[in-house]
């Protein structure tokens, strides 16, 4: 572990802290429908969309109407992407002559992008036409992220409104987030990436002659634009198969740093928007702090683990000072890769700039655990915040009891209905993560896709379903997806998205309908260090304990065996 490594981590964290307030303020203005600079410029476009689509943007929806709108929208998106992928061979903008995508892969990919997971069972440069990339995948990158933010805003409204029947209008939230938040920032990011050498072209691949005289196909395309939203929207679906490890996606240390910031930007900003909307920024900072604590711990463990070389290689006489460089890009180094791995799995981004499979067991376990906790460490845009609020509800429930009051969060009483919905949402993740892993490691079609046996192969399977259910989309690598995996991973992604969204919106509806109690000295304050510690503990114990047996049979036993000199 080097000084510059710590400096990088600290510099990154300081940048995240610095971005939080301005972004939070802007997000609130957009989602509360207030006046802002961009509104004057892009306002006509927004109103044009409403007119064209017949949306009455100020007609409020109840939680169930809101949820139905979300699902209808997602179904339409799924059908559109699926159709596009199947027929891309006969559609324009296909300079490399890609054929239509196979049904199971098209289904898997469509779900993956609609749920903001961006699990990629394919290699982009050899599977997708430019039209599929731009009209299918990049568009979903925008709207699935916008939908996440919209839902988060609706949930916050549930907490801020009193005795209300509605929680906002999904269509307005969706349009506003896309137009005012995602698009402008992405334009800036894409231009920056182009400046740093990321391609942005509609031309096909270029063939070059190498020094050895062989011919090499260099894939090109509209990379920069997809790259921007891939990070900002915590989507993670790369243009190329190796994602951000590819020099055309992520050419240098600067783009690497900016990409990581883009992953956390909106997740962090939303905590501040939460604080502003509930009328007390400290409430937002409390959430930010709990997330930041978990982020920093994860980063330190990964960095520590990767900065030490595999002890068995050391024993063979290899210089340990470089750390574990297997599967990492030299232009990012240990810290650039370890930090990226933590950030991309804290948030449900799933972009990768190094092969997580090649991390040492504990280094690879941190991304896994981050996802098992439900992607609540800044998390996916929107989904991180509402996922965190589920744990906050459990924490507040226990804390409230321990101070002798019916538990309340932000003045809203937490009662049987909220607990029921919270548990429903919390339950679905371990169900699909563990359930599908248990299935995959015994059926032949599941086993055949694993690249290795033993604990490491087990971790591959566990990582895949965890990544899918948590809507992360990063892969441990090593896995060769086949129809069995495509189908089951698709189900895991759907459950992980919708079995959380619907209960969360139900909670928002129930909260909005409640009265808000003014805080008294007898109320447990939710903006203090004690709350931060408590909710962190709840996330680790409630979110983490479930997975301990599985982790023991994967990375933990692998680590312990490595110390004893056994590799898998």
């Amino acid at each position: 572990m080097l000084f510059h490594g710590w400096v990088t981590i600290m510099a990154f964290f300081i940048c995240v802290v610095a971005m939080t307030r301005p972004l939070g303020g802007f997000l609130k203005r957009v989602l509360e429908g207030e006046q802002h600079v961009l509104g004057r410029i892009i306002g006509p476009v927004e109103r044009g969309i409403y007119r064209a689509a017949g949306i009455q943007e100020d007609r409020e929806q109840s939680w169930s109407q809101y949820a139905i709108a979300v699902i209808v929208f997602k179904v339409i998106c799924f059908i559109a992407v699926y159709t596009l992928l199947r027929f891309q061979g006969v559609l324009p903008l296909n300079p490399n002559g890609m054929r239509g995508v196979a049904p199971d892969l098209a289904y898997n990919t469509a779900i993956s992008f609609v749920t903001n997971t961006n699990w990629q069972s394919y290699a982009g440069e050899t599977t997708m036409s430019h039209l599929s990339q731009m009209l299918g995948l990049t568009v979903q990158n925008f709207v699935s992220a916008a939908a996440g933010i919209a839902i988060a805003a609706a949930v916050i409204r549930g907490f801020t409104r009193r005795s209300a029947a509605s929680i906002g209008n999904f269509w307005a939230d969706l349009v506003r987030t896309t137009l005012y938040v995602l698009l402008p920032i992405c334009v800036v990011l894409a231009l920056l990436f182009v400046l740093e050498g990321v391609p942005q072209t509609l031309l096909g691949s270029v063939t070059a002659s190498t020094l050895e005289g062989t011919r090499q196909t260099i894939a090109l395309g509209p990379v920069a634009s997809q790259e921007a939203i891939k990070m900002l929207g915590t989507n993670g679906g790369g243009f190329f198969n190796v994602n951000s490890a590819h020099p055309f996606e992520n050419p240098n240390a600067l783009t690497n740093f900016v990409q990581m910031l883009a992953i956390f930007a909106l997740g962090a900003g939303l905590t501040n928007m939460f604080g502003r909307m509930v009328g007390r920024e400290r409430q937002g900072w409390a959430i930010f702090s709990a997330m930041a604590a978990l982020f920093l711990v994860g980063t330190v463990v990964t960095y520590w683990s990767e900065a030490h070389a595999n002890p068995l290689l050391h024993a063979l006489g290899i210089d340990p000072s470089l750390g574990n460089m297997e599967g990492k890009e030299t232009r990012f180094g240990i810290v650039g890769s370890a930090l990226f791995a933590t950030v991309t799995t804290d948030a449900s981004c799933g972009a990768v700039n190094a092969m997580h499979e090649s991390f040492l067991p504990l280094g690879g376990m941190v991304p896994l655990v981050n996802m098992m906790l439900g992607e609540v460490i800044f998390g996916g845009v929107g989904s991180g915040l509402y996922g965190f609020l589920l744990f906050a509800i459990i924490a507040v429930f226990m804390a409230g009891l321990m101070v002798g009051r019916t538990p309340e969060y932000l003045g809203k009483k937490i009662e049987a209905r909220e607990i029921k919905m919270t548990m429903l949402a919390v339950l679905c993740l371990p169900l699909v993560m563990l359930g599908f892993t248990a299935l995959a490691v015994v059926v032949p079609s599941g086993l055949s896709a694993l690249s290795t046996s033993g604990p490491h192969g087990f971790t591959e399977a566990l990582y895949a379903y965890t990544s899918a259910a948590a809507n992360n989309g990063s892969a441990f690598a090593g896995l060769t997806a086949n129809p069995f995996w495509n189908v089951t991973l698709g189900i895991a992604m759907m459950v992980g998205r919708f079995f959380v969204i619907i209960p969360v919106l139900a909670i928002a509806g129930a909260m909005a309908a409640k009265k808000t109690a003014a805080p008294t000295p007898g109320t447990f304050p939710t903006d203090t260090g004690l709350f931060i510690a408590l909710v962190t503990g709840v996330i680790l114990i409630v979110g983490g304990l479930t997975f301990l047996p599985a982790l023991a049979l994967g990375p933990i036993v692998e680590h312990l065996a490595m110390l004893r000199g056994t590799l898998f």
Binding site: M398, G404, V442, L545
Partner: protein, 702 residues
């Protein structure tokens, strides 16, 4: 017949009764029935109410079936399996035992009430010719259970009141010790706020005509019996929410455990159902699951011991949430009995003369007002006590009709009493009536109560009785403020007087010249801002407010309407008890929260005991996780399951007694409880499991 059994003597001083009840938590006489009961409760139809323990029962039955099968087939070493099975059954029985002990205490009280309930005969009056009833009228004697609502009965001195009702005629002193434990008789009269009578109480003097208001089976006494028995116990809202949380946790751990065989199969190992069940039972929150209903029952029981009947568990929970406390000034903030503070004579009478007459009239008057007059006379003028007999004086006690008391010395008749009553007695014609009225009005304006004194037909003056703020009430209010509860004093006084008393007592806010409508409006406005309101009241005009309040404590001395409207009845009719009721409500929730936290925190240690034991057979490297250095995989699993069962027994006293509530503010309370039950819950099982492991290894159980 009394609620106050030897082991549950509740007194007015709530704190002392709490102490006393704790010493008898686990009475030997209650234990035996509880043990029988804990076996009876193994019935799955009863278990079903508690999802966590029901799941334990299902898996226990499963392992027992497997054990029997193995024994029949002739499995190798059933010893270990038998032990695990036994401890699984113990876990269930211990959980039932906790509930049975909690219920047992209430049952004992109910039995005693029932034993002493008398089969009373009621004198049902027959209507006169004009349709009215008179106490000279004809009546028929019928057994109390046959009385119907709206029957009219006569109750005379010495009779038991056959059922709950309302006095429609007459006035009587009634011994209500059967219900309240208070031996001093109370006055019951028609009209006004003292008209309710309770079945099972006894008329001591005079007579009343009562209209029966409660059908048999729903009388106050019936309700007490069913309440203390817990027969009508339903899960409270918070208990339901917690049950859902625990059921959800149980489900999560089902996923965690049922997926293990597949993982193990992949790793090339093997795992028995027995070990999986052991892991599952130790992981799911059995500790809180086992104790949850005991905590609820014990919370109700604490109130009953405190002589407060909560009509629902919901009310007890709401009490813990109270944000605003409405307190009647008289009797709560001020000493209900006013104290004499000045003698104000009419012109032509000296203060000394007035004091002397007032003292003489009060010598034999045992009421606090009377005593305070004697004390004031002594302090101001050094008038000492005189021997009534030597003076040949004859005391005239206060009666409800005259509303005066006094003394006859020879032909000298000294009377003191309400100004209007004294004037009414003497007639408007006597001199100084105008001046007396003027003085009385002035005193009333200051918030005091005037008491006129007359010597034969001569009005001497007025004794100024003043509200005296109770000692220590200021500290109580400060305590409530720290608890986060706002206090509002309700008084009929004018705003000036109210402000003076509010300032003196340290109450946060006051509502002066309060009418029932104003009271109701205040409650509504507090509730509209999301606050929970508690109040107590006794009058019929309090009934709407009592019904509206989230916690309405009706005084047992109050009217039927008030008792019906409230969701708690205070048998001692002591309004200051609201403060303790809030504490009991908080204690109930805290105990649940603390044990839930403890239960979940325990899981960490259990994982460290069982995971290495489960997997070490095929992944020897995992023995590094055996941080407790438990002797063998078998001893590790056995120790974990034994700890899991014994901790239930160990925590029963805490569940029944409740976690102590301190009014120190939410944050420090949470910090304290998190430290004890959270961090403690992490550490204790590590130590406990290790100790049990050493024990079972040394005696060769595993």
């Amino acid at each position: 017949m009394a609620l106050h059994l030897p082991h549950s003597e509740a007194t007015h001083g709530g704190r002392s009764s709490e102490h006393r009840s704790q010493s008898s938590l686990m009475q030997a006489s209650l234990l035996l029935p509880a043990i029988t009961e804990s076996f009876r409760k193994l019935d799955p139809r009863i278990m079903w109410r508690n999802p966590v323990m029901f799941v334990v029962e299902v898996v226990t039955i499963l392992t027992t079936v497997l054990l029997v099968r193995d024994i029949i087939i002739g499995g190798t070493h059933p010893g270990f399996a038998i032990q695990i099975n036994l401890w699984l059954w113990f876990t269930l029985i211990f959980a039932n035992f906790a509930e049975a002990v909690a219920e047992g205490r209430g049952k004992a009280q109910a039995d005693s009430l029932r034993r002493t309930r008398t089969e009373t005969l009621g004198k049902r009056l027959l209507a006169n010719d004009d349709g009215g009833y008179s106490h000279f009228g004809l009546y028929e004697q019928i057994p109390a259970p046959e009385l119907a609502v709206d029957d009219i009965v006569l109750v005379e001195a010495g009779d038991f009141i056959p059922s709950d009702g309302e006095v429609i005629d007459g006035i009587a002193s009634v011994d209500e010790s059967a219900i309240t434990g208070e031996s001093a008789p109370v006055i019951r009269e028609s009209g006004g706020d003292r008209s309710a009578v309770t079945g099972g109480t006894r008329v001591l003097s005079d007579w009343v005509i009562v209209r029966i208001t409660a059908a048999q089976g729903s009388t106050f006494l019936d309700r007490i019996i069913s309440l203390v028995e817990g027969a009508q116990r339903q899960k409270t809202p918070n208990e339901i929410a917690l049950t859902i949380l625990l059921a959800g946790m149980t489900l999560i751990f089902i996923f965690a455990v049922v997926t293990i065989p597949s993982f193990v199969h992949y790793a090339g190992g093997h795992i028995s159902v027995l070990i999986l069940v052991a892991l599952f039972v130790t992981l799911i929150p059995t500790t809180i699951g086992a104790l949850l209903s005991a905590i609820g029952i014990a919370g109700m029981d604490r109130l009953i011991r405190f002589n407060v009947l909560a009509m629902s568990g919901r009310a007890v929970e709401a009490a813990g949430d109270v944000d605003t406390l409405l307190l009647d000034k008289t009797g709560t903030i001020t000493i209900g009995d006013r104290q004499a503070t000045a003698f104000v004579p009419v012109s032509g009478v000296t203060e000394h003369e007035l004091a002397d007459a007032a003292q003489l009239a009060s010598l034999a008057d045992e009421t606090p007002e009377g005593r305070s007059i004697v004390v004031l006379a002594k302090e101001k003028f050094g008038i000492r006590g005189r021997d009534m007999n030597a003076l040949g004086a004859h005391f005239v006690p206060f009666t409800a009709q005259t509303r005066m008391s006094g003394v006859d010395v020879g032909d000298r008749h000294i009377r003191k009493g309400a100004v209007d009553s004294v004037i009414a007695c003497l007639g408007e014609a006597v001199p100084s009536v105008g001046q007396i009225r003027q003085i009385a009005d002035e005193i009333a304006r200051q918030g005091g109560t005037p008491l006129a004194v007359a010597d034969n037909t001569r009005l001497l003056g007025v004794v100024h009785l003043k509200d005296v703020v109770k000692g220590g009430i200021r500290e109580r209010f400060a305590e409530l403020r720290r608890m986060g509860i706002r206090t509002v004093m309700i008084t009929g006084d004018n705003p000036l007087t109210a402000a003076a008393i509010a300032a003196e007592s340290g109450v946060d806010h006051f509502l002066a010249q309060a009418t029932p409508e104003a009271k109701l409006a205040l409650i509504r406005s507090e509730q509209a801002s999301g606050k929970l309101v508690a109040m107590c009241g006794d009058g019929t005009n309090d009934a709407p407010a009592l019904a509206q309040a989230d916690v309405g404590v009706a005084m047992n001395t109050g009217t039927v309407a008030a008792r019906e409207a409230g969701n708690m009845v205070d048998l001692d009719s002591d309004p200051t008890k609201l403060i303790e009721i809030v504490g009991i409500g908080k204690q109930l929730l805290m105990t649940r929260g603390a044990l839930t936290t403890f239960s979940i925190a325990n899981d960490v240690a259990k994982y460290f005991a069982i995971i290495p034991a489960m997997f070490v057979g095929f992944y020897p490297a995992l023995s590094a996780l055996n941080v407790m250095h438990l002797a063998t995989p078998e001893s590790a699993v056995l120790s974990a399951i034994i700890f899991n069962a014994l901790i239930i027994i160990a925590l029963i006293p805490l569940a029944l007694k409740g976690v102590r509530y301190r009014p120190v503010g939410a944050a420090s309370l949470l910090r304290r409880n998190l430290l004890i039950y959270g961090i403690g819950g992490l550490i204790v099982p590590f130590i406990g499991i290790k100790l049990i492991d050493m024990l079972v290894t040394s005696i060769g159980l595993a």
